[in-house]
């Protein structure tokens, strides 16, 4: 009998997003169970349900043969489930021992028994091979140790089942090996570990069984030793019906943008982009396929002036736009649909019309003399609301009154109506309804057919495949493959390049980049 059984779990959020769709998931006692899938596949939601943070819309959770209902993580902890989050939930100014016992402190005479806390921490640390400095202030210890503190916290609460949400994302290779060793020790002592990841190498290395999720559904659960990395990749990426998009024959024009040897190193010194090269041509959609977190976000932000690059060039019309400010880049008619519309794309508390003029308020005809011409603004706003079918009574309302899809239409309306020379679209349809998705995709194709050079970055592989004329894959900050004809490549093949299983050499790619 499995230790954990989740039966027909569905989770539908208030905004209609289906995160889990009748998911069945089971874990045996004493195993290391990997849960894999692309971002947005629903694995985190499933684990949040198991840990009591989210309530399922329907379905059953059975732990050790008993049906449970979790109203909060306290209930889950009571059922001996512990979760180590991606973002550590530690108090930086407390010591390791204080953090371990936080919430159920050992007491003596009405005060916290610090000695006991220290001893408990030392014991647990020894028992499970999780090395920490019990007296160190959390602020001063490294990431690997913080993670071990998180695990100790859960063990202190008598957790038998440990959920780890992408624990290796923040670790160096050496720390990852240490973590794996610790996980094996835990399992030897009878604990059960659920390990969320999208790194296939780790799945093969550490797990006994693996469950693959895609688009909110479980694709299958297999014994890890029976499958190859390629097979797991295929399950993750899968085949699916493309949305039907009518795309006229490509008429590729002149070269409009060149990215040369672009590099970026993040605050922690990790190289995020390691020399990215590609060209972008008029009249084409160039898709960038890749699992999220492989440098796409940084690439787009550098190209649009929102983030400084470490090195390299971005050439448009013989001008290097690398490390120029957003205004200079926009003046070259480079439009940008940002991946996070609520952060960059709109000012939610400002009106729709104010959101539509941010790239042109200083230009004719909106600026007339030294003031803004509201008559022109009103006309333009009404026109765009109409043309992009933004559902709103009028343009004076704040953007916050719109649904996600209509907010994104405001962004798209602004960026496309600037008649861009180059359009950089990042996750243009993420988290919006089907109608708006279809509309925005159509608009991208229309612009491409009219001659705009379009760069499309999307975590939705079917979107990249159905919209792009040409595709490059990005893995760990490097271009691992280029596919000059997007229609002749299979998802499986792309998947192997996206996950770094295969890669082309620069010499092979050069001609098509």
């Amino acid at each position: 009998m499995p230790l954990i059984e989740m039966k027909k779990i569905s989770k539908i959020y208030d905004n209609g997003v289906v995160a889990n769709d009748h998911v069945n998931f089971s874990v045996n006692k004493g195993e290391i169970h990997a849960l894999v899938g692309e971002n947005g596949a629903g694995k985190s939601t499933l684990m949040k349900i198991l840990f009591g943070i989210e309530k399922p819309t329907e379905g059953q959770i059975i732990i050790d043969g008993q049906e449970k209902e979790f109203n909060s993580s306290h209930d889950a902890i009571a059922a001996k489930i512990g979760m180590v989050h991606q973002n550590f939930m530690l108090i930086p100014s407390f010591t390791v021992a204080e953090n371990v016992v936080l919430g159920s402190e050992p007491m003596k005479n009405g005060l916290i028994d610090k000695n006991k806390a220290l001893n408990v921490t030392k014991e647990l640390s020894k028992q499970f091979g999780l090395f920490v400095f019990p007296n160190a202030v959390v602020d001063a210890i490294n990431v690997g140790m913080k993670q071990r503190v998180e695990i100790l916290k859960m063990l202190y609460r008598k957790a038998e089942i440990l959920i780890m949400d992408e624990p290796t994302a923040v670790l160096t290779p050496q720390e990852t090996q240490d973590l794996f060793k610790a996980i094996r020790t835990l399992v030897h002592q009878g604990k059960t570990v659920i390990f969320i990841t999208h790194k296939l190498r780790e799945v093969k290395e550490i797990s006994d069984r693996v469950t693959v999720m895609r688009l909110g559904k479980v694709i299958g659960t297999v014994d890890t030793k029976d499958v190859t990395r390629e097979q797991i990749a295929n399950m993750m990426v899968g085949r699916e019906v493309f949305l039907d998009i009518k795309k006229p024959q490509i008429k590729r024009g002149e070269q409009r943008l060149t990215v040369k040897d672009l590099t970026y190193v993040d605050e922690t010194g990790r190289p995020v982009l390691r020399g990215v090269n590609f060209n972008l041509y008029a009249g084409e959609v160039l898709g960038i396929a890749g699992v999220e977190g492989n440098g796409q976000t940084e690439l787009v932000e550098i190209m649009t002036g929102l983030r400084p690059a470490a090195g390299g060039e971005i050439i448009v019309n013989d001008k290097d736009l690398c490390n120029k400010d957003p205004r200079t880049i926009r003046m070259m008619r480079i439009a940008h649909i940002p991946e996070d519309r609520l952060t960059n794309g709109v000012a939610v508390n400002s009106s729709i019309e104010e959101n539509l003029i941010v790239d042109r308020y200083f230009k004719q005809p909106i600026k007339k003399g030294i003031s803004l011409d509201y008559k022109t603004i009103d006309q333009m706003t009404d026109n765009l609301i109409d043309r992009f079918s933004i559902k709103t009574p009028n343009g004076k309302l704040p953007v916050s009154s719109l649904s996600g899809g209509n907010m994104q239409k405001v962004v798209v309306a602004r960026e496309l109506s600037s008649e861009p020379y180059v359009l950089i679209a990042s996750q243009p349809t993420r988290g919006i309804d089907v109608g708006a998705t279809e509309f925005i995709r159509e608009q991208l194709v229309v612009n491409r057919t009219e001659g705009t050079a379009v760069l499309l970055v999307s975590a939705d592989l079917s979107e990249v495949m159905s919209l792009s004329d040409r595709i490059i894959t990005l893995f760990e900050g490097e271009v691992t493959g280029v596919f000059p004809d997007a229609s002749s490549v299979s998802e499986e093949e792309l998947g192997t390049y996206m996950l770094g299983v295969k890669s082309q050499t620069y010499a092979e790619m050069e001609e098509y980049l």
């Binding site: 400010d325 205004r327 794309g345 104010e354 941010v358 030294i370 003031s371």
Partner: protein
């Protein structure tokens, strides 16, 4: 009536009125506890400012200063800069204006004009340091502007006591300004108005500055809502990341918002010096700079509401003066009223019944939906 309720402006007005009512009620409750004659004291507080001409004058003068200060703070708050250095800018503005009218070797009219320009420039310059460290080093403008206030006040005291001090007087103050550089009465010097003008001039210091204040309101309103600069300012305040993404130079706007705000703080200083005290004197700002923050909050940072908020606030302050002078209740009571009013106004959830939200979901297209689900209107 329901139509009226749907108008946002009306609902906000109602909210202010309600807040004021609750605040005053609370003040009365406290008065009952502290005063032997609560009703008499409260009457003095509520009706005092309009009971005599000189008191009306006090009220209008203070309100005029408050308008400039409220505008100054409204500008920085619009850009979401929590800058509260208006006090320092104002007092240094007053100092510069005073020194110019006292010592500049120009004819009187030119001296007054130079005083306006000098004070405005002073206000701007004093804002540069906190503005630049905020924009380029991300140092909290709240902290730096507070520190600049202290520096300004001490610098003012030092300069006045060292260079302008009148011999044989008790307080730290300069000599009186000559008559010809004091700001004239707000009533035009016309034959048929001569009597009224004389009456007002004798009992009050209400000057032409009141017209300058109204002009400033119009200018700031135009600047914030009708110009590209105002748009930039509002977008930086609304979502600075969006502003940056759209190509707005956010750092430049932060610096400009604080320095331009300084102009109006400087003008407040001109008003206090040239129309009210008629000399440079210690404590001439009387802590009014911080009241500018309250005015801005009361007016939702909208320049068009600033004069009304200033009149209301000035009235409460003037009433407090009267009550303190005539009765046994100290002016701190008014602070309770003020604090209660501000708190209630800033509490977004007050009057939730009349709050409404417009949603535009597919199935409800074109319909206005009350948040409480009371009514659907096509």
């Amino acid at each position: 009536m329901r139509e009226l309720f749907r108008k946002k402006a009306f609902r906000e007005f109602l909210r202010v009125l309600l807040a004021l009512g609750i605040g005053l009620g609370l003040g009365f409750v406290v008065t009952i506890f502290v005063s032997k004659d609560p009703i008499g004291n409260y009457r003095a507080f509520l009706l005092g400012p309009v009971s005599q001409l000189n008191r009306i004058g006090d009220w209008l003068e203070e309100s005029t200063t408050l308008i400039f200060l409220g505008l100054a703070v409204a500008i920085v708050f619009t850009a979401k800069q929590f800058y509260i250095g208006v006090e320092g800018q104002m007092i240094l503005g007053a100092f510069v204006a005073g020194t110019i009218v006292l010592y500049a070797p120009f004819p009187p009219l030119l001296r007054v004009i130079a005083a306006f320009i000098g004070a405005a420039l002073m206000g701007m310059i004093w804002g540069v340091i906190p503005a630049v460290v905020k924009a380029y080093l991300n140092a909290s403008e709240l902290v730096s502007s507070l520190m600049m206030n202290t520096i300004a006040l001490r610098l003012f005291d030092y300069l006045v006591s060292t260079y302008l001090q009148q011999p044989k007087v008790a307080g730290i103050m300069s000599e009186l300004f000559p008559k010809e550089v004091r700001l004239p009465s707000f009533i035009p010097n016309l034959p048929f108005l001569a009597d009224i003008r004389m009456l007002w001039e004798r009992q009050t210091s209400v000057s032409v500055m009141i017209y300058v204040a109204i002009g400033a309101v119009i200018v700031v309103y135009w600047l914030l809502y009708k110009t590209p600069f105002g748009y930039e300012l509002r977008m930086v305040g609304s979502n600075s990341k969006f502003a940056r993404y759209g190509g707005i130079n956010v750092k430049r706007i932060i610096v400009l918002s604080i320095t331009i705000s300084g102009i109006f703080a400087g003008l407040a200083g001109v008003h206090v010096a040239l129309a009210i005290t008629h000399r440079i004197v210690q404590n001439m700002s009387a802590g009014l700079g911080f009241e500018g923050v309250n005015i801005a909050i009361l007016s939702f940072n909208n320049p068009a509401i600033v004069p009304f908020a200033s009149l209301l606030y000035g009235y409460l302050r003037a009433g407090a003066d009267v009550m303190e002078r005539m009765g046994d209740v100290s002016r701190e009571l008014v602070m309770i009223v003020q604090a209660a009013v501000l708190l209630l106004i800033t509490a977004e959830r007050l009057l939730p019944v009349v709050q409404q939200r417009v949603t535009t979901d597919e199935e409800e297209e074109g319909q206005v939906v009350h948040e409480k689900g009371v009514k659907h209107v096509a």
